[in-house]
Amino acid sequence: MDSESTPVHADITLVVNGREHRLSVDTRASLLDVLREDLGLTGSKKGCDHGQCGACTILIGGRRANGCLALAVAHDGADIVTVEGLARDGRLSPVQEAFIEQDAFQCGYCTPGQLCSATGMLDEAGQGWPSTVTGDLGSEPVLDDDEIRERMSGNLCRCGAYVGIVAALREASRRKEAAEA
């Protein structure tokens, strides 16, 4: 037997949706699998396990990341938000609400990733981060439809809900701006 085949475990701490978890994880385990299989947080989805679909998108330290590409053992102490943590006290976030209003999903399997990705994306844009379609890198990017589409293209939806997703994020970003103004 290859010696590298023997499981090695490591103790880590994860803060998920504000709750601290002390865990012993297989050093080969992805954050996605630890969330889903060890913590029972199955909201984050596995579509490809290879960083190609975005279904597993979560927020790590406030930034969107593919949970399937993150080794759990490398995230000791990380502060993580999953789809289960987007609503506060039973109140849906503006992005979640807009998704429902615009019917921005069908089967719902890509949806948790879309929602986490969108939440992170709105923050990035709010902080003035450009994307590859941002024309003038010197000025604050305006989150028009082209910007939304570009910034959301890491999250595949085979049901083809993109039209609704873009409409939802147009609306969510408008509300966010109104709330901040």
Binding site: T6, E37, L41, H50, D103, Y109, R158, V163
Partner: protein, 700 residues
């Protein structure tokens, strides 16, 4: 406009999909795929895998239990030493954890006596044969009049061959199963399926169980688009592995393994001949199709069947030929038959429009028909022309200059295209029960599936309407084979078939409720409807007899799709700027979800037109591009302005709701509309999908 009833669960992550049920003591399965394209398994080395701590079992043809009577060859998992295609499941490991199972699968050593696989589809293949029928029950060949002769004598002739590649469904949720055997030998499957009842009966047959001893649970399904219409080998493998390990197991097919094991759309080679008068009236249509199947199981896609429905022409021939190859087994993918067939037919109609100098919309109107051309049956309703005209008005078709390759915006060439859509209004027998609860609410149960279609919501609307109740007082429970038997979520037949059973059950319940009032039975009073006993009141329906008694009509939905594209003259990149679909699909039950269905289908059509192609490895077999980085489905930035609308259509010959199916028609014709627009933009006629920079650049 009614929002999906499960919306909140879906946006908060609490909607559970197959792999996500908490099951105690669960173990994990990882599968091994054949690394040769054809041959015999000579040995399976399991020592290294078994020696790994946490490995519970290794299964292969050397130790797998004998199955009773697998209904198709794909379900005969590990029953023989023969490798029928590269990527076929040949072994599996059960481990305590995902990581262990996966590592152990890597250590299983399968030896083969390999042979050279035969995997290339061609029209001169010596094994070409005529299938007994094409999916689901259509004749392989049909002929009327003297098509060849009339074609040859026609004033205008178009004789061209279109080819379409293999394409993969790629639902975002992989095929996944949790399998549990209890101490009485009863099997429970949490399965990602389009048909709980279908999985129940086919798995029962496979394992020699009474169907009542198999329960299949699937309230939420992450898409399927046909690939989850019948059980694929992963379901049998999971149940077998759970038996071998003596524990419940979970198995989700890794994305890369889905390409060989869970079905795909066959590639097609389609020769089309249209013979017409100078005024565009069709005299003869010939549509001859060659496609592939595997050696494990015959699947014959009904590619030429829309040609039997679409246009008038006194002389007509359609034919299907199959080649059995050493390839994975093709199966249903969104509108099998109509999708590739209408891509070819509607592209050739565009060629005929150009050959005759007639506007493509006018050409289609001239060849419209009020009877189904082959059967001679009247259409229950056919509003193709209304869709074309409504779409033309909305899209701004009037005054379109037919000249190709002349509209420049900077370095981009612009063009527009149109194509028709059609899809049969299928309907299957179903059962349902409706219950009046003592608290004044209603429950409807049916083993239907909501794979993202909005079925749960549509059925609740249908039930509420029949019961004259508030939507909020109606609960629909589906996705469980313990409920009354339902047909598969396929063939766009769900709402029609399930909905009819729900209507009949609700009507029967109303009759009972009225009877309860008249009879003065005790219990709590119910919204003026009568008295409900403490255990509730229940009524059941079975629509089998009703379906058999239906009048003879040709029942189909129709539509028209419009696309505007820009083609970069330097890179050959095609972008769909806007797309509009107008459909005539009977009564639309829920506009919100219907629109999403149409647009979703059209979006997949954009993928078909420009991105999707599964490339066969001609040397070793199986597909070369086996993940989402190499098989491109449309991403958000690929989809700009796609809109869908529908014309009012009232059709009394369908079902109590007056509805036709809407899940598939959105993809039908979409790729032709885009291809026709590319031709209008560039003057280049591409007769192979997808249309890529590589195909366009040499001619730009």
């Amino acid at each position: 406009m009614t929002e999906r009833l499960e919306s909140r669960e879906k946006v908060t992550g609490t909607a559970r999909y197959a792999f996500e049920y908490p099951v105690e003591n669960v173990a994990y399965v990882a599968a091994v795929q054949a690394s040769v394209g054809r041959g015999e398994i000579t040995a399976v080395g399991t020592e290294a895998a078994m020696a790994l701590p946490g490995v519970l079992a290794v299964l292969s043809c050397e130790n797998a239990p004998r199955l009773s009577d697998p209904p198709d060859g794909e379900l005969a998992v590990f029953q023989s030493r023969t490798v029928s295609y590269r990527g076929q499941f040949v072994a599996a490991v059960v481990g305590e954890t995902l990581e262990t199972a996966r590592e152990a699968a890597r250590l299983v050593h399968v030896e083969y006596a390999p042979e050279a696989p035969d995997v290339r589809l061609r029209t001169d293949h010596p094994s070409l044969y005529q299938p007994g029928k094409v999916n689901p029950v259509f004749p392989a060949d049909t002929e009327q009049g003297e098509p060849e002769e009339v074609f040859n004598n026609s004033a205008v002739r178009v004789d061209v061959t279109y080819t379409t590649p293999a394409e993969h469904n790629n639902p975002m949720e992989p095929h996944a199963t949790i399998a549990l055997w209890d101490e009485h030998g009863y099997l429970t499957l949490y399965d990602s399926t389009q048909g709980a009842s279908t999985v129940q009966s086919m798995v029962a047959q496979t394992f020699g169980l009474d169907p009542s001893h198999v329960r299949v649970v699937a309230p939420h399904v992450g898409g399927g688009f046909g690939s989850k219409g019948i059980p694929k080998p992963n379901v049998v493998l999971a149940a077998m592995a759970a038996g071998a390990a003596g524990r419940p197991v979970k198995f989700a097919v890794p994305r890369q393994q889905m390409y060989a094991t869970t079905g795909y759309r066959t590639p097609t080679i389609q020769r089309l001949r249209l013979g017409a008068d100078n005024d565009g009236r069709l005299n003869a249509i010939l549509h001859d199709v060659v496609e592939q199947t595997s050696t494990v199981k015959e699947f014959a896609e009904q590619t030429a069947t829309p040609t039997r429905v679409m246009y008038q022409a006194p002389h007509r021939r359609t034919s299907h030929r199959l080649v059995p190859l050493d390839v994975p087994t093709p199966s249903w993918m969104r509108a099998p038959g109509e999708t590739p067939g209408m891509y070819a037919l509607e592209s050739v109609m565009d060629e005929l429009a150009i050959a005759t100098g007639i506007d493509p919309i006018e050409l289609r109107i001239r060849n419209d028909t009020d009877r189904e051309p082959e059967s001679g049956l009247p259409f229950s309703s056919r509003n193709l022309v209304a869709c074309l005209q409504e779409g033309a008005a909305r899209f701004g078709w009037a005054g379109r200059d037919p000249a190709t390759g002349v509209r420049w915006e900077g370095r981009k060439l612009i063009g527009t295209g149109v194509a028709a859509s059609t899809y049969p209004a299928y309907m299957s027998p179903n059962r349902a029960i409706a219950r009046a609860e003592p608290d004044g609410t209603f429950t409807v149960r049916i083993a239907a599936a909501d794979i993202g279609t909005g079925a749960r919501t549509a059925l609740a609307l249908i039930a509420a309407e029949t019961l004259k109740a508030d939507l909020g007082d109606v609960r629909v429970e589906l996705g469980d084979s313990a409920f009354p038997r339902a047909s598969v979520a396929g063939g766009s037949s769900g709402t029609a078939g399930w909905g009819t059973a729900v209507v009949r059950a609700c009507e029967a319940l109303r009759a009972k409720l009225n009877g309860a009032v008249a009879g003065g039975r005790g219990g709590s009073s119910h919204a003026g409807n009568g008295a409900i006993p403490p255990e509730g009141l229940e009524a059941a329906a079975d629509t089998g007899a009703e379906l058999k008694a239906r009048e003879k009509y040709a029942r189909h939905a129709f539509g028209a799709q419009f696309a505007e594209v820009e083609v970069d003259a330097d890179t050959g990149e095609v972008r769909v700027r806007r797309m509009l679909g107008v459909f005539a699909a009977g009564r639309i039950i829920n506009p919100a979800t219907a629109r999403s269905q149409f647009i979703g289908g059209m979006t997949m059509g954009v993928g078909m037109a420009l991105l999707e192609e599964s490339v066969m490895d001609e040397e070793f077999g199986d597909f070369l591009n086996r993940d989402l980085a190499q098989y491109h489905v449309p991403a958000c930035a690929d989809v700009r302005d796609i809109d869908a609308a529908w014309v009012e259509e009232s059709d009394p010959h369908l079902n109590p709701m007056g509805s036709k199916g809407i899940g598939e028609i959105g993809i039908v014709g979409a790729a032709a509309a885009v291809g026709n627009a590319v031709h209008h933009a560039t003057g280049i006629r591409v007769r192979h999908l997808p249309i890529t920079p590589a195909t366009l650049l040499p001619d730009l």
